[in-house]
Assembly symmetry: D2
Homo-oligomer: 349 residues x 4
């Protein structure tokens, strides 16, 4: 049994952590902070948790976070790094769902997030929490920077192609056409996320440049063992659903690699990963097939048997793209079974 | 560990039974039948169950249903009654999610469902599976007729007012204005349930008369101990959401009963029911607060402190209104804890 | 050709006014104000108006509103009354889509809107803009207080029953169970109106008391010729659609009035009203059947031939419930054909 | 005033033709056929047309189609070609919204549509109804094969790049990642289009090969003047909205063409087309910005100033992608103004 704290429990990743952690057999929820909602009972804000979570939000500085074994940060960018040194000094491990510990290059961080990085030395030791790629490092980590929702799907979708001794596809011309549900924008009041704005509507955004682009490129490059450069065109879109990301990935097979069995390549690559499901050839995974669960499903296509690979990837952005992935990392860090507390069956329909 | 069969596993209540039963610690899923889909793997039709349910659909007559301890019927009306005698003879208990064992009066059944009732003697012993009202009878039942989705919410919403020695409200003038998500229409292809028909749209249906009306009236009358007549106006509506029922109930307080504390009346009535949550005074329960769970939440209002009570009730029509309620009954019938396998936290957002 | 100004053009009723007025053959759009967005081109905020509206938002005090023939206020409550005296002095007529000129009793206004009424003398002359009830008065009005979206549907739904020399129904026990799309909450950022909050969800709100309640009661009473008192229970609900209101109205027939042909009563009552459509007996009107149009459809039911009348009413809350009704009033005020510019065919699907 | 017939008026493109043609000043609706619904009033099936269309569906052979000036076919594939010879012999012009007159190569038609082509000689004279590309030919045509919904957006999105003397982009490696609302699947009952299946869900389909692929390739090749081959990867997706297509197009600039001003190229190309709107640089068009209208909006992006062009295209699949484009062609064929009857302002929100 470990003591777990959550900083910033009033957003969507916060309530999702609560849903998962409240049923985790080795977790004792100890503190849930929210600066704006201190004093409010958690189940008053989220009646779905009535009878499940018997705590109130507390102010961060009134909460005994230092007494926890691990603290999750489900906060805006910049919060985790301000608490990190103190928590580490108390022996508390950190899992940040925001971007503070994702980009290894502080200049890149500052360019995209418009704030200085306050603890580059902690950033240096932080592990990128993509379990399928970094499992062993995560087990020993004190600080986890959890991947963003888009980056999770794009990296796991391309990984089997890139984690090879030589390029199988044109790595300078990768394309990721990604579609996200509206919960990805968080639980902040904003006109663009209103029901009457985003329902019965579809559009791209951030085509000029999106914060997840440098993170994905960093991750894909790391998957090549940092031996090769990556060129990626990343176009995110908003789709009128609550949860779910569907990434459609395009890669051009390089001459000489046409005869590879890519279906088998993917199946072999992920055979030991409990949350990645390579679907049968010809499948079209649906986002709802992973709704509310930590699974990510992949289908490998090669239209008209040509030289373009089309990889379809679905995940629940709030689970495998955020809270669930965090619990998966926590399990690895504390020696629990990787799937503990995460065997929720997807809710369909 | 009991052996469980499901007849008609390819609809929404079927997949929902699979979601719940596959994680139930005392259940071994033994057979899942579907006449039209025999031979198809369950997880091919419902990829959400990949890695969860390792069975294929079988034809009903090829399935060893007689070897089960209990069989669920998630079938069209009329199927369960054709199998009931044979199963009972083999010692198999029956939980029917359709209407075969709901209406005690076969003439009423035949009027509303346009088919003769083929086993009135079994109907006579069947127990109406509303655990909060019939818990003790369910424990001993061999055959359960599970309540419909609307009837569950309306009966549990009115029950505390009616289960009284004398009328507290005008029982001849009850009104139930109910709103259901589209999954209530089932997984059959029909124009009216198409996305392009039912999205961004709202309408009433069946105002002239709906099959759930006689069931609700029978149930409400039973709650009075069959001592008083009930007059109910029931108006169902279709609302563009997948799951969920919201029933708004209206009752007029009779003279002399104005000073009763109705909030307390409801709280006391349901204090020992694990799945009924009487919310604090003034609350407006949301359907999503019970999404994917077996909970039903109730709020009691008395606008402007007048003599009209407004009772708000929410449930997930596929869980408390169908599959979950079935599992709840099964737990009672086999001596398991009533909540076993049903502690799923609602998925929000 | 008249000169028209719009104050507060950046909300949903504003863009809807622009959609309708831009195609009105007798209207010249002269000024569109928005305090927060002055300088922004209208079609930059609403690309749907590219090529349609060639204006930029201006600051209210920089706009020549006094040179208009009529000014619409699509603003928060309290704005119109602060401009009214000055505009009237310049001979400009006023159509207010907010609540400033709805409630005749300033004490009621102040109780529900939490602000003093600044021009009771103008309020006294203002006409309530429900054309089907007040057509002649509207033709001569200088100031129109347009009905709210819910009040429009509830009043027109009950009117044929109430505009009678003696009560046909129990006027002390009327019930209006109303369901609105999310655009009714306006284009303001608020957590409750986020897609991820209001999609796949349904709930009531304001059961304790809603601002539209006193307005409806005032209107219903006026329909009786202010000869009788009205008792109304009003329960609004939020439903996951963009546009549309569906009101389900309940009234109990009083003894002696059972033999009236209510279908005919309604058809006769509205036979000369171009925007009110009494549907054939047995119909269930859908909100989408009026989407984007100024029509309001009504169906009259009497379930099981009992003594409860169930009246179903649908409208587009942004058109007949707001902007369209405003244009309808404008047409009457300036002697245009009542339907001018309003013959938009509903968009279905 | 011309006489217009519609064959197959009971689907979504049918009701959309009715919405547009009923308000067209030069059109007299003469016959609306529907084999299955003969005798039913049009406004009984589509109450949105009450007071707008005063006709009943008739059986095709009972309808005086030969007396029309033009007949629209809003039917399944194969119907138009069975009527074409007879109608042409009577001097009736034909606009087919299905695929009978799209693919010039009958072998391709038979491969993708699984039926023989019954009138290749009429096919030979048929004109592909993409007004922006074939305006002059349409003016003189007797038979129009209207483009499919996806093909309209993809061809108009790529046209300015391809209608050039030499390749500007790698024409062998074009990618079209397209997202469609559910109305694209038509008004036929099918499980996959149910609300409970397609709401809150997203998935690709037909990745292996889709009927619109050969049509798009034929069209793109024609745009090059049939001088160059086209290689296209086309991935359609289903998105939970009623109407709208968003196509995200990718093309790689060939060496030597990096300095072209692509924004200007697009603006110049479409400067005389009333329904194509090239948006300002940096824009992200939304599908709702064209909802219910015949407009198609395009935005040109070049992320990170690299060599990949990303073209965003939105249209209403039922209007510019079907019925509206048909009316546009009709206007050209009969010498009316191209925009007549099509100046509907998009409905937003």
């Amino acid at each position: 049994m470990i003591k777990v704290g959550i900083v910033g429990g009033s957003g969507y990743t916060g309530v999702e952590l609560l849903r998962l952690l409240s049923r985790h057999p080795e977790v004792q929820l100890t503190a849930i902070t929210s600066r704006g909602d201190a004093g409010t009972r958690v189940d008053e804000m989220f009646p779905s948790l009535r009878g499940v979570v018997d705590l109130a939000f507390t102010a961060p500085d009134q909460s005994n976070l230092n007494g926890c074994d691990v603290v999750f940060f489900a906060t805006p960018h910049g919060v985790a790094m301000s608490h990190a040194a103190s928590l580490l000094a108390s022996g508390v491990r950190i899992i940040d769902l925001a971007a503070d510990f994702r980009l290894k290059d502080t200049a890149e961080f500052e360019k995209w997030y418009k704030m200085p990085h306050s603890c580059p030395e902690i950033l240096a030791e932080a592990v990128y929490g993509l379990a399928e790629i970094n499992r062993e490092a995560i087990k020993k980590a004190r600080v986890i920077g959890l991947p963003g929702c888009y980056p999770t799907s794009v990296q796991l979708g391309f990984a089997p192609l890139l984690k090879q001794g030589k390029p199988l596809v044109n790595e300078a011309g990768l394309i990721a056409d990604c579609k996200s549900g509206v919960s990805g924008a968080g639980r902040r009041a904003s006109v663009g996320s209103l029901f009457a704005e985003s329902s019965d509507n579809f559009h791209a955004y951030g085509v000029k440049g999106h914060r997840h682009l440098p993170e994905i490129v960093q991750g894909l490059k790391a998957i090549t063992g940092n031996t090769r450069e990556i060129g990626l065109t990343f176009v995110p879109h908003l789709t009128p659903m609550i949860r779910g990301i569907h990434s459609t990935l395009y890669a051009t097979i390089v001459p000489g690699c046409e005869s590879i069995d890519y279906q088998k390549l993917y199946e072999d690559f992920y055979q030991d990963d409990p949350f990645v499901d390579v679907m049968p050839a010809g499948a079209h995974p649906e986002t709802r097939s992973v709704r509310s669960s930590n699974y990510l499903r992949i289908a490998v296509h090669r239209p008209m048997d040509g030289n373009i690979l089309v990889i379809l990837v679905v995940e629940d952005n709030l689970v495998k793209g955020a809270a669930g992935q965090g619990v998966q990392c926590m399990n690895l860090m504390f020696g629990f079974e990787e799937t503990m507390g995460l065997k929720v069956v997807p809710v369909l329909p």
